[in-house]
């Protein structure tokens, strides 16, 4: 049991210690306002990262999430501002398109036996390409519902607010944990990521699970796109470039193995917040340049991977060779 939870414990400890160190340096850091903003600013990355966790647990990867987020913002802007649809309808369309897009990629991956890396790379090109074709301009969204939704927030007594995007992210993570750890679908994903062949022999519906995993990632990327469009109030075809990397990094820092089969959804939440914490620290400091974010995240990635390797080597002692990567 401890083996399963150790990476999560380490991730959470890094998050807490990191937060305490920040708070020790800047007294204003330890406030509900900062915590609220940390959750709001990273909401779209978090939602997409939850989807990425499932994909990686199943032994795959989804490079298209950033492009799907960008595409969703453009689609929403076009539907609301140019077609004149009500935002609620536009949201439903966007979620359906994201889900269908993910399912299509999953189908290609399963039935044509093509590597997920390449299929989702093509998906990334298609999603970005279609958003370029729709528009290359940044379209502002001025629907009154947008400002209404942005006002929805749960205010802390001590100042600061838990915005709608932050609540959505927390909800997504709660549901994802339920899905991953207490449903048959979740068990199937772990089985598939552990060993595809054994899973098949055990009776796991490989085709259905693979398609569903990518569809889920597409759905959550669509939701992340909606949150991003609420957050920025605009649709832009270059929005959320490179978010797929942020999400993969968050998943790895969260203790999930990229080979699939091992990891916890809650770890990804920690990974997202650690990345956000680094960014917030650099904003607070004011004198440090933005590139230190990248270097710090790179170093963290390295440390976490080494740690996991070390833990794995200790556990798989009786096997001699550590699992071939």
């Amino acid at each position: 049991m401890i083996q399963r939870f150790l990476p999560l414990i380490v991730t959470m400890m890094v998050l807490v210690v990191g937060f305490l160190l920040c708070a020790a340096q800047f007294p204003n850091f330890a406030s509900w306002r900062v915590v609220g903003n940390l959750l709001t600013d990273n909401a779209f990355v978090g939602i997409a990262a939850a989807g990425m966790t499932f994909v990686i647990l199943s032994g795959g990867i989804d490079l298209s999430v950033g492009a799907v987020i960008g595409f969703t913002t453009v689609l929403l802007a076009v539907l609301i501002e140019q077609v004149g649809l009500h935002p609620a309808v536009a949201f439903a369309v966007a979620l359906a398109v994201g889900t269908g897009f993910g399912a299509a990629m999953g189908a290609v991956i399963h039935w044509f036996q093509m590597p997920p890396f390449i299929v989702t790379l093509a998906g990334m090109f298609i999603a970005r390409g279609v958003s370029f074709v729709l528009t290359t301009d940044s379209i502002p969204i001025n629907h009154p519902l947008y400002s209404d939704l942005n006002d929805v927030a749960w205010r802390f007594a001590a100042g600061g607010r838990l915005s709608l995007p932050a609540m959505l992210m927390l909800g997504v993570f709660a549901l994802s944990m339920l899905l991953a750890h207490w449903t048959r679908f979740g068990a199937n994903i772990y089985a598939l990521g552990g060993n595809r062949h054994s899973a098949e022999l055990m009776g796991v519906p490989v085709a259905r699970t693979t398609v569903a995993v990518y569809a889920l990632s597409g759905l959550l990327a669509g939701l992340a796109g909606i949150v991003f469009s609420l957050y920025t109030g605009a649709g832009y075809s270059l929005a959320a470039t490179g978010v797929e990397l942020d999400t993969i990094t968050a998943v790895v820092i969260g203790g999930t193995q990229l080979t699939g089969g091992y990891g916890l959804v809650l770890g990804t939440f920690g990974g997202v917040l650690i990345q956000g914490l680094i960014q917030t620290y650099i904003t607070f400091d004011g004198t440090m340049s933005s590139w230190w974010t990248k270097i710090a995240i790179g170093v963290l990635l390295f440390v976490f991977i080494l740690l996991q390797k070390g833990l794995l080597a200790v556990w798989s002692d009786r096997g001699g060779e550590p699992a071939e990567a």
Partner: protein
């Protein structure tokens, strides 16, 4: 790899795609194949394709070796930015050209060494091992340029990007030279065979006496060096280093070129020349879309469509569905097990993760 009829048939989809793209360009733009000499160097759309495609082709050479070992190098774009940043910053500070080149290439070598050690010694999965440098590398490049776009005046360095050797643009010459050296290293010696064997099964290769850590490190170092040369070309071309954008997303283009060229991401058999063909297809499409007056917005969609067509043509699932498989070497493990004709050639064997 001898150019047997089966090899020829295997490479048919890519070569066909390249010819089709070139012909489409020619139909849209009748002057496409015309080449003229002006100011002591060749000019023409075809030359432009080769010149613009040089960085991705260079990356594809190194990437082919890495992918053949069942790895992938996501950091090449960041390595390009680092080598470019070093070259521009040192030139601006007044260092001599040979030292600048040496430092830039040395940086690429070190980056490759880092990746190689992570993969070979620490046994980290290549996609994560190189993700570290992909994320941190661009930060390091920005650290070197201090976040500025560093411009420089140096005819010597600029010649690497925009000069010409015997009328041929320098980037094309550099790419051809790198290809020749790499091909000689892997095909005239047993090195290529060892790389393929590590890709097929790392453990068996080690038992068979292949020094797998050295092979793996060498492959990543070579990939880093190729990326450094590509970074020099890009920096020399714009006479400045933009740490944010130099080589951005080129790692994906390079992987695409290699995969379109028919090298499997599962490792094993690789085709250097076909990777260059893959890079040429990508660049010919880019140039074609620009020439045809289509909006460049369509670029990505066309790229994705061609990619899917070429990949589906090579898809093992599809060749099983078809009544007669195009070539025995392409068949899936089931067929390889049944015929067992050429055990050394059943490179695609091995359980997919």
């Amino acid at each position: 790899m001898t150019l047997s009829s089966s090899a020829l048939r295997r490479n048919l989809p890519q070569c066909g795609a390249l010819i089709a793209v070139l012909l489409a360009n020619w139909l849209l733009f009748p002057d496409f194949f015309s080449i003229r000499v002006q100011d002591g160097r060749l000019f023409g759309s075809l030359i432009d394709v080769m010149n613009r495609g040089a960085p991705v082709a260079l990356l594809a050479i190194g990437m082919t070796m890495v992918i053949a070992t069942r790895g992938v190098d996501l950091s090449v774009g960041a390595v390009m930015a680092i080598s470019g940043a070093i070259a521009a910053t040192m030139t601006q500070a007044g260092w001599s050209l040979p030292l600048v080149l040496l430092a830039a290439l040395g940086a690429g070598l070190l980056c490759g060494l880092w990746n190689g050690v992570l993969v070979a010694v620490l046994r980290i999965q290549p996609i994560i091992a190189t993700l570290i440098l992909m994320v941190a590398g661009r930060g390091i490049a920005q650290l070197i340029t201090e976040g500025q776009i560093v411009t420089f005046v140096s005819p010597g360095l600029a010649a690497i990007g925009s000069g010409a050797v015997l009328t041929v643009p320098t980037p094309v010459v550099l790419t051809a030279a790198t290809l020749a050296v790499t091909a000689l290293l892997v095909r005239a010696t047993a090195l290529g065979l060892m790389i393929e064997s590590v890709g097929v099964n790392r453990l068996s290769s080690a038992y068979a006496g292949v020094n797998t850590p050295v092979i793996l490190i060498a492959v990543y170092v070579w990939c880093g060096l190729c990326a450094a040369v590509a970074g020099l070309i890009v920096t020399a071309d714009i006479r400045g280093a933009d740490a944010n954008n130099a080589g951005l997303w080129l790692e994906l283009d390079a992987i695409l070129a290699v995969v379109v060229g028919g090298t499997s991401l599962l490792g094993g058999r690789f085709g250097l020349l076909m990777s260059i063909v893959g890079a040429a297809i990508i660049q010919a499409m880019n140039t074609g879309i620009l020439l045809s007056g289509f909006k460049p917005e369509f670029n990505l969609i066309v790229k994705a469509a061609v990619l899917m067509v070429v990949l589906l043509a090579q898809s093992p699932a599809l060749s099983l569905l078809l009544p007669r498989p195009r070539s025995p070497a392409n068949a899936r493990p089931i067929a390889a097990k049944v015929t067992g004709k050429a055990p050394g050639k059943a490179h695609k064997e091995g359980s997919a993760p």
